[in-house]
Subunit: 448 residues, 2 copies
């Protein structure tokens, strides 16, 4: 199939139908009206509700039913009043929801299920310009305005780009994914002019690329991709994008240009890796796989995942410090967290070569020599490349015992430290199969 | 025992007795007379024999019966005549030897057993100054003169220093040892004033130390120790000294100053390592020991040993190139050469992580991707730190097979290449015990 046929086929799936649009519009209008009337009913003056986000911009993908309703208050409202009145209005509306939950980001907000839509009711300040925002969410109405003024005629391109990124696993700016946000996708399409022009450009992207639509950027950024916010010269919209997702998008763009397929937009869902398949892979690779398993701490993803990635690195560094060679790491979280490490080997010789100071650095050299000379457990001592070298018994010749003995001394995130200190298990090879959670097995297919 | 008692005790052993001196003197005189009369008998004019080396300087160790007799020819003699007449005179004298052998260095010379002395008969040019020497040996008479003029009263100090260096394994400037030459030892004693002052100074030596007795050095040297030849401002007498032997001597000097013992001068002879002891050590260390065994090429030590050391390095580099971790290397030569390698492990996983170019370096990245994408034997392909990474089957997962398959491609010395190409064996662990030669087993005690 050629590009145009593929694009048409994909759009048929992802572009909301007229019925869907009418429904979304009705529900949004209904909620806006409810916010306004509830505010009036509660004698809270000058409140005005707005629909923001992809629903407001016509860049939402069919089947996703997300509504972001911002409850805006005058600039001069105090923080306490905003939180109090905002929550009071939102709670009143949530009474009609199928279910609802209060969340606490910079301000409290309510997420609810309402007429089968996933609705966020978010209080914010209605400031005069993005330069005078009081909280991060205050910026959103400005983004909304900019996109609405510039996106007309490019909505399909945004839909295609979002779906291609989703298929490639690089869509979503939350800390778990570290990919492209919706707003970033929209800005790329506006800047380059179309879905395909974004991809053509991305084929030749290099890190530290700067895109500044308004040519007003006022700070130096060191991120792989820098897209200056048209509504805020200080801000990089792509700050959350990791180097690997930046690179993956380049790779995806080249693949699409060379040989576009529908599967790139909608890859077949990954299946669970069976016990048998896992054992087969381990036998084929003949490497050692070790996993640390513990209870997942009860925190939101944006707190959990950075700590998980940090733990991968800290555990790999611990192993490397003790002379193990780490091939790769991975982590997954469900009921339990599983941090995986593939090693060249999980056991090392009992002898460790410990290289000391150069012989001619007298004070250090004498200290080193007197520490080891004649010690019971020193295999041998000699001079190599001008340095004292001792061969001593290795403290941890077994990766499992090393992690068991030393993980507690690693610098881990706060909530993970707490969970690990309540107990963890180190399992190796086939023992890993005791983790049966379906999501883990799907993850394992991609990792192992 | 204090230093003085130890020195006395050692000198009692190493200082030649009056009888020994008389005997050596008589034999030397007899040989000088023979050279001179033989030259006259063969109608070779203006030849003059001289005793040089430690025997001439009173710095020879009791029990060593070495005589260096230089057959000196006038400066204007041609190289061809020198070689022809020199050899003709030496051959005549060698007729009275218990046994003799002709050697070929820069010139031919004869080594012979004569009245139980180990005698070198060496033809050289009698040049007017060290600046106008025609061959390396022409320098020796000048060394001889300088030492004789400056060594008086310091002979015992030289003997002690030589013996201490011998005990510590750092004496001898041949390419096998890369240690201190006799001349270097004498210069150190002259410069610092005594055996103990050399050691006191050496405790604080650092690499690139320059000692220039005549303050006439005219070139920059980068060796660990630079001792400018008093008879040649361009030459570093210590050029052959390796960094490790330089460092070992610092170590020996500190040990002597802290706690002098007779054993430092005369360490107990090393014993052969038995099969049982070797197996015990291997079991204790749990590392992997691999050895390459082949027939020793028939060349002099100064040719063989540099090639051996080069082979140790080349083999270790080969193993490291293929992801093995080398703990240490060693080599020994008797009837067979044995090159030893201690490894963290002699087998690796069958999977190899191969890191490719950054995704954004387009030409390289596309070439890399198309080479591996969809290839039958690629385990997986992903992006890490902005680079393509493939997991592919390891070509050599076994150290023994790697050496068997690739040693022939390593850059080895000429004679070793020839010998290896006629056949070599790679043995592992206990199999190494099939090498029974006593010298190897002694070496093994120090290495394994």
């Amino acid at each position: 199939m050629n590009k145009n046929n593929i694009k048409s086929a994909i759009l048929k799936t992802i572009k909301p139908t007229a019925d869907e649009r009418v429904l979304l519009s009705n529900v949004a209008d209904e909620l806006i009206e409810k916010v306004n009337s509830t505010a009036a009913g509660q004698n809270i003056p000058d409140v005005s509700a707005r629909l923001v986000g992809s629903a407001a911009r016509g860049t939402w993908i069919s089947g996703t039913h997300d509504l972001d309703i911002f409850i805006t208050f005058p600039d001069e409202t105090s923080r306490e009043e905003l939180e109090k009145f905002g929550l009071s209005i939102a709670r009143e509306i949530a009474k009609d929801a199928e279910k609802s939950e209060e969340h606490y980001a910079e301000h409290p907000y309510i997420n609810m299920r309402y007429r089968d839509f996933d609705v966020d009711l978010v209080p914010c300040f209605r400031v005069s310009s993005p330069g005078s925002i009081k909280s991060a969410v205050d910026r959103t109405p400005f983004h909304n305005e900019f996109i609405k003024q510039n996106i007309s005629g490019l909505e399909d391109d945004v839909l295609l780009l979002k779906q291609l990124m989703r298929g490639g696993g690089v869509y979503g700016s939350e800390l778990r994914t570290q990919g492209f946000s919706g707003y970033l996708t929209e800005l790329l399409v506006i800047h380059f002019g179309s879905f395909e022009k974004v991809l053509e450009s991305a084929c030749n992207w290099k890190p530290n690329l700067v895109i500044d639509i308004k040519e007003h950027g006022s700070l130096k950024h060191t991120d792989p991709l820098v897209v200056i916010d048209p509504t805020d010269p200080k801000r990089n919209v792509a700050a959350a994008l990791s180097l690997d997702n930046f690179s993956r998008f380049i790779d995806i763009s080249r693949s699409f240009n060379q040989n576009p397929t529908e599967e790139m937009f909608f890859p077949p869902p990954a299946k669970e890796l069976t016990d048998h398949e896992f054992i087969e892979r381990v036998n084929l690779r003949k490497s050692a796989i070790v996993a640390v398993v513990f209870k997942t701490p009860d925190v939101v993803d944006d707190v959990l995942y950075p700590q998980l990635y940090k733990m991968e690195q800290a555990t790999a560094a611990l192993l490397e410090d003790y002379d193990f060679t780490v091939i790769k790491t991975g982590s997954w979280a469900g009921d339990d967290v599983v941090v995986l490490l593939e090693l060249m080997t999980s056991t090392l010789p009992d002898v460790k070569k410990h290289v000391g100071p150069p012989v001619w650095v007298r004070a250090h050299a004498e200290m080193f020599k007197s520490k080891y000379e004649g010690a019971d457990d020193v295999f041998s001592m000699y001079i190599e490349d001008g340095r004292y070298v001792v061969e001593i018994p290795r403290k941890y010749a077994d990766a499992k015992k090393l992690i068991e003995g030393r993980l507690g001394m690693c610098s881990l995130g706060k909530q993970i430290t707490a969970s690990v200190s309540e107990g963890f298990e180190v399992v190796e090879g086939k023992e890993i199969l005791r983790v049966k959670e379906s999501g883990f097995r799907v993850f394992l297919r991609g990792w192992a």
